[in-house]
Subunit: 151 residues, 2 copies
DNA sequence: TGAATTAACTTAACATGTTAAGTATACTGT
DNA sequence: ACAGTATACTTAACATGTTAAGTTAATTCA
């Protein structure tokens, strides 16, 4: 029972150093690297998540898009309205199920994606280089394990 | 160069499995355990962060409170107005520096803290038991390292 | 087959996140 | 002393988070 270990456990009891706070701070640290770049492209991080998900699929319905971009449907509804107003996406209703909307990136949307993607990748590369691939994958694995444990 | 490792690296390139998304999902998984309890007590997670920080200090000014609760000042301003309207805190201005407000938990606020704290601790215990102390501290350490690397 | 239920959104209401601008007080150097 | 600057908030404006309720279309099953 070393003091070091006891101190670590004690710190995790201190809410400023709790796991939820650690997750929040780590994410904020990461996103602060991306936000200025996205801002220069006129996008929020959530709008970029949607565009990125749309770029991966020819067609995708709103439910699937919400899952993949990890947004709640009310948020997604608003974002899709905005992206449609900027003519970055088009919506149509699924012929086989009129409840579903099918979203597609317009040419303009694809163009924007092509512009932002390299900048995004460059920042990701920097982060990876600074933190190291080994710790990066270890951290990601732990996050996934944690997520699974919480289910 | 095992395939397993290459796959992991490839997955981290897939934004749905990127580190920022992993951080977001892990945090959401954790907070979803706390939110219903906080809701029963009539608090949001941010309001609870503020109350918790206030409970740790006799007196604290808004800047320090923002740092400790990890909130931006505009958010904190609104939250303090709300908590004051519920008579959970009082504000006064620092005699030595009129720019600063000094926040203090009222008796009602202390009472609420005393009610919520055990429920919060219980949930934290469950999470700790489920995920294990070893992985918990490892994950937290990695998060701190990541945070430091990003500075 | 048609009333009840479910699914896929959308709207509403309120709280917070984020950036920029505004206000009042303190400090700094001449 | 005082003009200039910095600090500590506060306000504003817009976007998203979160929960609840509403709407329309599909599905179920008596």
């Amino acid at each position: 029972m070393g003091d070091i270990r006891e101190n670590k456990q004690a710190r995790l009891r201190d809410f400023e150093h709790s796991l939820p706070m650690g997750l929040l701070k780590a994410r904020e640290a990461a996103m602060s690297k991306f936000r200025p770049m996205l801002r220069d492209h006129g996008l929020t991080e959530q709008q970029w998540r949607v565009i990125r998900a749309l770029a991966d699929y020819e067609e995708i319905d709103a439910s699937e898009l919400a899952r993949r971009s990890f947004l709640l449907s009310p948020s997604l509804t608003r974002i899709l309205q905005y992206l449609e107003s900027r003519k970055l996406i088009t919506r149509s209703s699924d012929a086989k199920d009129q409840r579903r909307s099918v979203l597609v990136l317009t040419t303009k949307g694809q163009k924007l994606f092509a512009e932002v993607a390299p900048d995004s990748a460059a920042i990701y590369d920097e982060i990876e280089a600074a933190f190291g691939m080994a710790r990066m994958t270890l951290l990601y694995d732990l996050l996934e394990q944690f997520h699974e444990t919480m289910e």
